[in-house]
Symmetry: C2
Subunit: 319 residues, 2 copies
């Protein structure tokens, strides 16, 4: 085999190890931060540990990749923990009885199912605040960087982030929200609910890695496209799978206005692939070495999209 091709194979084989190595470090850092919560009430700490105990760690790894090897490793790990706390808080909130009313997440009982609704809400708020305090207390940053990282976190959960996406997803658009066509509504909800946190990971990584400002809009497009693609793949899985396969409550989206529901599974699959191609193009344009990103994205999307039958049923038929 040609040496260049061999290098490529070896590099591809190294990436999953690199990701697993990062996740091991991250899990240790998460445990460290959670051990600092005492003297918080023991039940809250237990609920936080339980909720943070597993996950794909996609956003932290994305942050790590964008930050690159030149970034301060400790700051990257701390900020990765903060992002994962915000992500976990958003899942706890989404799963609540008054929202998606889900009892399973990552194959285990959701936080409210195990600890009760009140403790779940308080744990989510505690995690959000702790994420802010981690970013606000980062060492080795200049104050402008620290302020920007705090701003990313408070923005992603706020009025123009996850909270807005969840409100629109649950209660729909009012006239004042001005979204007349389905594609606009779907794209906005996906951007707020999924894209915002991926963009936050990418933007925080760009700050920590000192990426030049000119590349940031391309990195942002990468995060946005990835978010849209991820949500479409998630909707496909929700329709086609059962809880045993995904580890969370499925067919929760029946009757919801999703890309899948409006355009059918074939078109959703096509759109998902086009978004991934666009994300890849943005990544290459931003000058980042694409291989580890591609490896991570393949590892997420291939098992999701492989489950979709070639001649998938139109979503309308399933409603």
């Amino acid at each position: 085999m040609h040496q260049q091709a061999l290098d490529k194979v070896n590099a591809a084989a190294r990436h999953p190890d690199a990701q697993a190595g990062f996740v091991r470090q991250l899990d240790l850092r998460i445990a460290h931060h959670l051990s600092q919560l005492s003297p918080a009430p023991a039940r809250l700490v237990e609920a936080a540990r339980d909720a943070m105990g597993s996950g794909k760690r996609l956003r932290p790894y994305l942050l790590h990749l964008v930050a690159g090897d030149a970034a301060d490793g400790d700051a990257v790990l701390d900020m990765a923990v903060a992002l994962e706390m915000v992500h976990t808080a958003s899942l706890i909130v989404d799963d609540l009885p008054s929202m998606d009313n889900a009892l399973l997440r990552r194959g285990r009982p959701t936080t409210h199912a195990r600890f009760g609704e009140a403790t779940a809400i308080l744990t989510a708020i505690g995690l959000l605040n702790h994420a802010i305090s981690i970013a606000n207390g980062l060492n080795g940053m200049d104050d402008g960087q620290r302020g920007a990282l705090v701003s990313i976190l408070s923005g992603v959960m706020g009025w123009q982030g996850l909270v807005a996406g969840q409100e629109l997803d649950l209660n729909g658009f009012s006239d004042a929200d001005g979204a007349d066509d389905a594609l606009d509504r779907i794209t906005r909800i996906n951007a707020l609910k999924t894209g915002a946190l991926l963009c936050a990971a990418v933007e925080a990584g760009a700050i920590l890695g000192g990426r030049e400002d000119g590349k940031r809009s391309l990195l942002r497009r990468f995060g946005e496209d990835l978010g849209q693609a991820f949500q479409i793949a998630d909707d496909l899985i929700d329709m086609l799978s059962d809880s045993a396969a995904t580890g969370k409550d499925c067919q929760k989206d029946v009757g919801k206005e999703t890309y899948l529901a409006v355009y059918g599974a074939d078109e959703a699959l096509r759109r998902c692939r086009a978004l991934l191609a666009s994300a890849d193009e943005a990544l290459v344009g931003a000058g980042l070495s694409p291989d580890p990103f591609r490896c991570m994205i393949d590892a997420i999307f291939t098992p999701m999209l492989d489950r979709v039958p070639q001649a998938a049923p139109k979503a309308g038929a399933a409603r």
Copy 2:
């Protein structure tokens, strides 16, 4: 009348006007910040406006008094809005069906009663995040001050603040929380649920007013004592009043471990007055002009404590 005595009477008469003047400015600043929330979903903005529409504005005024006239007026107003947002968010959360299940607050339907539980939770989280972003974006601060103000806000709502107090209040202390006697448990819950936000107002005021570090522990004691006193007075009112008089659901504390329930109303009244005296002493010790504080505190506590009959029934009798 002696000139000095006359000055004192005039000064006392000026304080309520000064408070009302500050509250008018604050309400305009609140409206300004809420007008910046768009393009957040219209229902969320409406719920935030509704929740922030009224209130005693005690914490903002306390911040303003501690900051003093030398502080930057704009920064004080912005930080006062941030504190009121955190306070409002905590009330929305406390009132939820899974917590105190209250339908009335400040004489009007609670946020979840009017907008539904999901929107109420999302509004509370949105307000918390917005408070952080206000503090993080304050002009005219050096970066150390801005970081300290962000830290105060994320701390007050977090694991060692309101979230912890609410968890302990709802679900009690576990063995690991180590609080063996009733007075310790009651004092800790009151400190977390009520004292934390008053201390946050005082500490933020001290930062904005450039108060010397040596005075801050006395100012903190002032906030803590005031918080304990306030909670005891609130418990007395809860037991003795009806909703028409207080504008919120009453007799919610029946069966709860409060200072009133354990020690009876006479002792609760005595303790409340002793705490107010201790708060006053700390204030004078910190070198702040006490008159406007006394005027504000009298205006809050006199109507509350005057409702308590001289020979108040023991709380045990009401259980």
